[in-house]
Symmetry: C2
Subunit: 300 residues, 2 copies
C-alpha cells in the first residue's frame, strides 16, 4: 500500500474518473490504472466500480483510512522539517467563522508583541483548518465548536496537541419577538421539533448537535452552506429557522439551559507539544508562546 497509490486512489474516487485523476496528479491514465490495479491486487478485492467510477464497499473502507494516513504523513514531514527550520517571521493563521472575534483580539495581542508578524488570515471550515495546521500549511489557528464542558473538540485525527482553550455559554438564536424567547431556561431537547437551520460551516451540524444533546430529531428546515455568520443570523431573523450559537454572537437569543453543553474555542499551534531536551528556545516554541499568550489575553 504505497502512499502514492492511496493518494491516486483518493483522487480517482473524488473525481470519479481515472483520466481526471491522472491530469490532476501529473500521471498518465495508464499509471493511474496501474496504481488502482496494484492496490486491488495487494488487497485481493476490487476497490472501484468502473463506468461509472465509484468505490465498492471495500473501496469505501479504504478511503476512510487513506485520507487520515495521507494527512498524517504530511503532518510528519511538516513536524520534522520544523525542527531544523527558522522560526517564520510571518504567520499564517486559520480561523473559523465564529472564532473570528477571539482571533481578531489574539492577532491584535500578537501584533502588539511583535508588529507585523501576522501576515495572512484564512477563514475556512473547522476540519480543513485543523488539517492545514497539522500539515504546516498555516502556523496556528483558532477554531470553535460545541462540546461538553471541559471536552476537547472532535477534530480530525492528526496528532496535533491542544495549545489552549476557552468556553462560553450557548444560546439558541431566534427572531426578535419569537414566542419562545420569553420561555427562559430553554432546553435543547424541548426544541427537537422546531424548524432548524443546518449550518455545518458555521456551527455544529444538526446531526452532531443531536448526538451532543442526546436527542433524536433536529430535522433541517434549511441548509446554509456559507461560512458567514451574519448571513446565518439574517436567516434566523427572517424566521427561517433556529440555530445554536455562542450567546455572545446572538442578537435575539435565548440562553440554553444546558449545562452539559458549551461553545468552545481552541487554539491550535503547529509543532509538537514541547521540546524534550530542555532547550525551550527551539523555533516552534517561540511561536507557541506568543500565540498562547495572545490567545489567553483575547479570551481573558
Amino acid at each position: 500500500m504505497d502512499p502514492r497509490f492511496l493518494r491516486t486512489f483518493a483522487a480517482v474516487v473524488r473525481l470519479a474518473s481515472f483520466s481526471a485523476a491522472a491530469r490532476e496528479l501529473g500521471y498518465t491514465q495508464s499509471a493511474v490504472s496501474q496504481h488502482v490495479a496494484a492496490l486491488e491486487a495487494d488487497l485481493g478485492t476490487t476497490l472501484l466500480h468502473r463506468r461509472p467510477v465509484a468505490p465498492t464497499e471495500a473501496g469505501t473502507r479504504l478511503l476512510e483510512h487513506a485520507g487520515a494516513i495521507l494527512v498524517r504523513l504530511d503532518a510528519a514531514r511538516a513536524d520534522v522539517m520544523r525542527v531544523s527550520a527558522e522560526p517564520p517571521d510571518r504567520l499564517a493563521l486559520g480561523v473559523t467563522p465564529l472564532s473570528a472575534a477571539v482571533a481578531a483580539r489574539a492577532i491584535a495581542a500578537a501584533r502588539e508583541a511583535l508588529p507585523a508578524i501576522v501576515a495572512t488570515v484564512r477563514v475556512a471550515e473547522r476540519d480543513a483548518i485543523a488539517v492545514a495546521v497539522a500539515t504546516g500549511e498555516i502556523d496556528a489557528a483558532v477554531v470553535d465548536g460545541i462540546a461538553a464542558p471541559g471536552d476537547p473538540l472532535r477534530l480530525p485525527e492528526t496528532g496535533l496537541p491542544l495549545a489552549d482553550a476557552a468556553e462560553e455559554p450557548l444560546a439558541v438564536a431566534m427572531p426578535a419577538g419569537h414566542p419562545l424567547a420569553d420561555a427562559g431556561g430553554l432546553r435543547l431537547e424541548d426544541l427537537v421539533d422546531a424548524r432548524w437551520i443546518d449550518a455545518p460551516g458555521v456551527t455544529a451540524p444538526l446531526a452532531a448537535l443531536a448526538m451532543l444533546a442526546r436527542a433524536e430529531g433536529f430535522r433541517p428546515a434549511l441548509r446554509y452552506e456559507g461560512l458567514d455568520v451574519a448571513g446565518l443570523v439574517a436567516l434566523v431573523e427572517a424566521a427561517q429557522g433556529l440555530t445554536v450559537l455562542p450567546a455572545r454572537a446572538v442578537p435575539h437569543g435565548v440562553p440554553v439551559a444546558e449545562p452539559r453543553l458549551v461553545h468552545r474555542t481552541e487554539l491550535l499551534v503547529a509543532g509538537t507539544a514541547v521540546s524534550a531536551d530542555g532547550g525551550g528556545e527551539e523555533p516552534a516554541g517561540r511561536i507557541r508562546a506568543l500565540m498562547t499568550d495572545a490567545f489567553a489575553r483575547a479570551v481573558g
Copy 2:
C-alpha cells in the same frame, strides 16, 4: 516516506541498533542503513545519532507519527479484507483488567446465543487492545478507563468506531479503617497530597488523573506495573497507597464526590460502523450485533 522505511526506522529506535532491527525485520544491516539514509535524505535532516543509536529531535517527531501511520495502514488492510471475508466462527476477545467482570458476563451472553463462539480472551493494557482490534488481530474488546460522564475514552487514533459504552461511579480504594474512610463526599482534589499508587496497567495513570481532576499533585508513592486488580487491591489494603477504581471493584472504598468523573467501559468491535448499501447482513455486522447485544445484557 515509504511505510517500510518508517517501520524500519521505528524498529531501529526501539532496539537502539541497526543490526538488531535488520535481524528482526529480515533485512541485511545494509538495507536498514539504506532505509534510514533514504528517510534522512528525503527529509533533509539526520534522524538518528549513531553510536549509541538514539533518535535526534527530528527523529523523535517522526517517531510519534510513524507509529500512528503504521497502525492505520494495518487497520485499513484489516477493514478492507473484512468486507469480503467469511464471518469468523471463533471470536478472539481483548479485555482490560477492570473490565474483566463485564466482559465475562458479555462472553456468557454471547455463548448463550452462539455456543462456542468465543475462543480466546486476552488480557492486556488498554491501548494495546484498541490497536489489536483496529488491526483485526482480535475481533472485539471490552476496555475501560476514567472519563468525564458521556465522554469517550481517549484511545489511540485508529479510526475505530465506538460500539457501545456504560458508566458507573468511581471510588477511592483505601485500607479498611482508614481515617478518611468516614469523611464521605470525598473530592479528588482534597487528596492530591495523599500517598498514591500509580498503576497505569489497571487504572488511569496518575498524570492522566491529575488532568481529569484538574489538579496538580498526585505524586506516585509506588508504581504498580501488573495487570492484576487483586494485586493492586492487596497493596491498597496493606496501606501502601490509594488508587481510583470503579466503586463496584473496591472492598473498602469511599465513593468519590466527583460528578465530573466516572468509570467508563467501552465495547469495541472490529469493522467499520455500518454497511452503507442497505444489506445489513454483511459479515462484520453479525458479530457487531451479537457483541453489542451481549454487552448491553452484561452491563444492564
